[in-house]
């Protein structure tokens, strides 16, 4: 019985009809992780004992007729989510010894619905990176080609779903960290509207951009999980009290008449031609399902990346000040005075990319530069958000490529931060404007997956999921499995 190949929805049905127990399922996936993760390095922590205990409880609950919506279903959490009693490293030496005393709201809600956490996924340090190479725990390898990156920062989440360690993983997205790895690993990745899912318990990178979401293999599974994660949380001031639609029920609705905007600027010379062709084909497929496509113009979108690389580092420089070696986290040995304690604990605890971002952020906020960089970026951010809003006056979703290229070789871009940053050129706009966005497997180039990127209007994740579901009914890209992980 190849339980690992099944989707969350299929597993739910199997558990419901008593074909297998959650304990058996959990054990099978734990075995699989143990057998294959040496190749991928997708996991930072595997919580086998806790998982089996949770699975046993789920089985008992189900037997007693108390099955929650995710009762006994396995998943992996990105190691950015605080998990009570379990190390929460955020991919950093700084938090290598950190055991969270509390659960993130996302973790709490999924657990309350009966989900079983298998472990914590590898990630770029503090979610800063697009290749998973900034992790203190080493890079994650792409199951489609072990010499290549699975993307980042949610590289461990994406790789573990692609490699069938789990049908689903949580992830976070500040500039593309869910969608780019999803595109590079042939998985679905959805970043909901900013304010849709609570950020409480998610270690903050850039607070005005961060949003939690999921990586799965089908839109159906994503809808199922998102329905549990989304919704008001009194512990997060930026989490809105908006009604959460029944995403799973909405999936069946047709996309006939849906208007798709294709951003002219997203098909320029920066995009790999073959990837562009796959994306065009996918858009054509959506049209054949009844949608109509029109070209839209977003004159300021080209400034997304520089805008992001002011706003995100500015917020991160402040968010990461709490890591000072006093109350938790890495503390340097044999320090002299307080200043030395701070500088050495932080100097040793943070990796290169995190330091670069903290430095960039400190610089753009400092006296004399604030107006030229930070304030200017906030203004351009407004222009970019307005580009989207203007487009959404005419169209329901915006479509384009998720990433300029398919998966790149590990080490290929580490020496040039700008090249690395440009990986997120198509995804960042949605974060700047707080729009929901998604990547959907849409074919291959040279044996490597390509993603179709969709952006929706505020709080309209349903439109994205509906498109993805309709597309997945007609195509089988998402069922393709990397060699060696079938």
């Amino acid at each position: 019985m190849d339980l690992h190949a099944k989707t969350l929805t299929e597993l739910a049905a199997g558990l419901d009809s008593g074909d297998y127990l959650s304990v058996e399922l959990t054990q099978a996936l734990l075995d699989r992780i143990a057998a294959h993760d040496e190749k991928l390095n997708a996991m930072i922590t595997v919580t086998g004992d806790e998982a089996l205990a949770a699975a046993a409880k789920a089985d008992a609950d189900r037997a007693a007729g108390n099955a929650g919506t995710l009762c006994g279903l396995p998943l992996i959490h990105k190691d950015i989510f605080c998990t009570r009693g379990v190390r929460t490293s955020c991919g950093s030496k700084m938090l290598d010894n950190f055991v969270s005393p509390y659960d993130a709201t996302v973790v709490e809600r999924l657990a309350a619905a009966g989900a079983v956490m298998l472990g914590k996924a590898n990630m770029d340090e503090f979610a800063m990176g697009s290749s998973n190479e900034t992790s203190y725990y080493g890079p994650v390898r792409n199951p489609w080609d072990l010499d290549r990156s699975p993307g980042g920062s949610s590289g461990g989440s994406a790789a573990s779903v692609a490699a069938r360690f789990t049908p689903a993983a949580t992830a976070t997205d500040t500039g593309g960290s869910i969608r780019q790895p999803a595109a590079l690993t042939n998985t679905i990745g959805i970043k909901p509207t900013y304010g849709r899912v609570s950020r409480y318990g998610m270690v903050a990178f850039a607070s005005s951009l961060d949003q939690a979401g999921v990586i799965t293999r089908t839109a159906e599974d994503a809808a199922r999980l998102l329905g549990v994660m989304a919704g008001f949380d009194e512990r997060d001031s930026t989490c809105l009290d908006e009604p959460v639609p029944d995403y799973a029920a909405d999936l069946g609705n047709s996309i006939k008449g849906l208007k798709i905007g294709v951003v002219r600027q997203h098909f320029d010379e920066g995009l790999d031609a073959d990837c562009g062709a796959r994306v065009r084909e996918a858009i054509a497929a959506l049209e054949s399902l009844g949608a109509t496509a029109v070209e839209v113009d977003m004159p300021n979108i080209d400034l997304s990346v520089p805008t992001y690389y002011v706003v995100a580092p500015a917020e991160c420089s402040s968010n990461l000040s709490r890591f000072d070696g006093v109350r938790f986290g890495h503390r340097a040995k044999d320090t002299g005075d307080l200043f030395d304690l701070y500088c050495r604990s932080r100097g040793e605890g943070f990796g290169d990319e995190v330091k670069r971002r903290i430095m960039t952020g400190t610089y753009v906020l400092s006296a004399g530069y604030y107006d030229a960089y930070y304030l200017k970026a906030q203004q351009v951010r407004h222009l970019i958000a307005d580009d989207f809003k203007r487009a959404f006056e005419d169209v329901d979703v915006i479509a384009g490529p998720t990433s300029p290229t398919a998966a790149f070789k590990l080490g290929a871009k580490v020496d040039d931060p700008i090249t690395m940053y440009l990986n997120d050129i198509y995804t960042i706009g949605a974060n700047l404007g707080g729009f929901p966005a998604m990547s959907i497997p849409c074919g291959f180039v040279g044996g490597l997956p390509v993603g179709l990127h969709l952006v929706g209007h505020h709080f309209d994740e349903s439109a994205l999921l509906r498109c993805a579901h309709a597309y997945q009914q007609e195509t089988d890209w998402h069922t393709r499995c990397p060699e060696g992980f079938a």
Partner: protein
Amino acid sequence: MSLDKDQVQQIATLARLKLKPEEHAELVDKLSRIVDFVDHLSAADTEGVIPMAHPLDVAQRLRQDVVTEPNERDRYQENAPSVTEGLYLVPKVIE
């Protein structure tokens, strides 16, 4: 180079980061490139544009003034590198 060694040191001091000499040299180069890159923003016409600090255009929600958090000091201090009698310890601070 848009940033020099001294500027980088000044930023590192402000950010409380101790840099090894090789890190310092590399940061002069990489930060300069990043700063040059974000300088593209200066070309944008932002005359009269309101800075956007947040994607949400809504007001702050308020919570009721009630005490909800019990004392969990011991549990919270399990992560602390150095604690005595409930106090977090740091090298002596002189004012």
